[in-house]
Symmetry: C2
Subunit: 198 residues, 2 copies
């Protein structure tokens, strides 16, 4: 329709998450009809992001530098290390504003069927990092999925010889969650992990 370049744009937009053919078409028309300048800026922002953003050499989160801002910061408590699956998790925790330690991004979770073992997600490197004598507590914040749990369990087993406290983020009913709509796995976890009211 219209032209080849229009089709190319529609197809290119489909790499965005949860954008199907109809949305892509709507986006392409919107950009061409009403947001030419914005589209130009988006193209530039994409080039820049792809060209300059890469993994932090220490924590494997994202940065434009060799080492990310959090790893460089002296304000953050380096005795605390939070282990997550992806940079998106770092972002989510940062946005909660309730963590002041450092991070370690695994870049995935254990998934033996897909050939993803401890080496593929840098567990040996993480264990190495834990032997520096600085880290006192590791908070394992992998996802509360089957794979995330397995990864947490593996990590616990692999580092329990170290003189470090290992914790796992709490699992239970989310804030604002109505019991009626909470799934039964979560509910049984919430009952099992019940806490003394102080």
């Amino acid at each position: 329709m219209f032209s080849d370049k229009f089709e190319h744009l529609v197809n290119a937009l489909r790499i965005l998450p949860s954008v199907g053919p109809k949305s892509a078409q709507r986006m392409a028309l919107h950009l061409i009809m009403k947001q030419r300048e914005g589209a130009q800026q988006l193209a530039q922002a994409l080039e820049n992001a792809i060209g300059y953003i890469h993994e932090c050499q220490i924590c494997h989160s994202l940065t434009e530098d060799d080492v990310c801002e959090i790893c460089r910061s002296h304000e953050r408590d380096e005795r605390l290390l939070c282990v997550v699956e992806s940079p998106a998790d770092v972002m989510a925790i940062e946005q909660s504003g309730s963590y002041k330690g450092k991070y370690h991004v695994l870049g995935g979770h254990l998934s033996p069927l897909d050939g993803i073992g401890p080496n593929e997600i840098g567990i040996p490197e993480l264990i190495q990092r834990l032997t520096n004598g600085v880290v006192q507590e590791v908070i394992i914040a992998t996802n509360a999925t089957v794979e995330g749990q397995a990864t947490a369990h593996y990590l616990f087993e692999a580092s329990k010889h170290l003189p470090i406290s290992m914790t796992r983020i709490a699992q239970g009913v989310p804030q604002g969650g109505e019991l009626e709509y909470v799934d039964s796995h979560t509910l049984s976890q919430a009952l099992h992990n019940r806490m003394q009211i102080k």
Copy 2:
């Protein structure tokens, strides 16, 4: 978060229709983590689309050339002219596969409060086009909104001196629409425009 270039990308993505801050963040992470090549292609596709796609000189739909494929085509019936508000409407009608005439895109609808009168949407130019002695029927396919209806009405009045049949696309219950969920305006239109069963 992460870096300035990441923030720029998130902000740039927000120009896309129905993309809020959360979606934009998710898209940016997805592109950087999993779709670097796709992001590169998207940047290129945006540059190309903005650089090469513009209005057709005859019908004002979108094209890479001076005159669009539909206007150039000898396969299309030039005695039929369908008037629509935007290129998106041309696309929708083409995708229905049930129209073989030519188009005229107004680029909007009458909206006196916003200062959009007949001249702003090229009504004089359209009337001019209708006096070429070739067009025999004008199908007014502006939206079934208040503004679209007003535009259709104006167009009808402005061209009723011409020896041309003026029609309006049918308005009624959409295919697959259950009466229970159809709004009352549509339902009263559908009753009013009822047709003899043949």
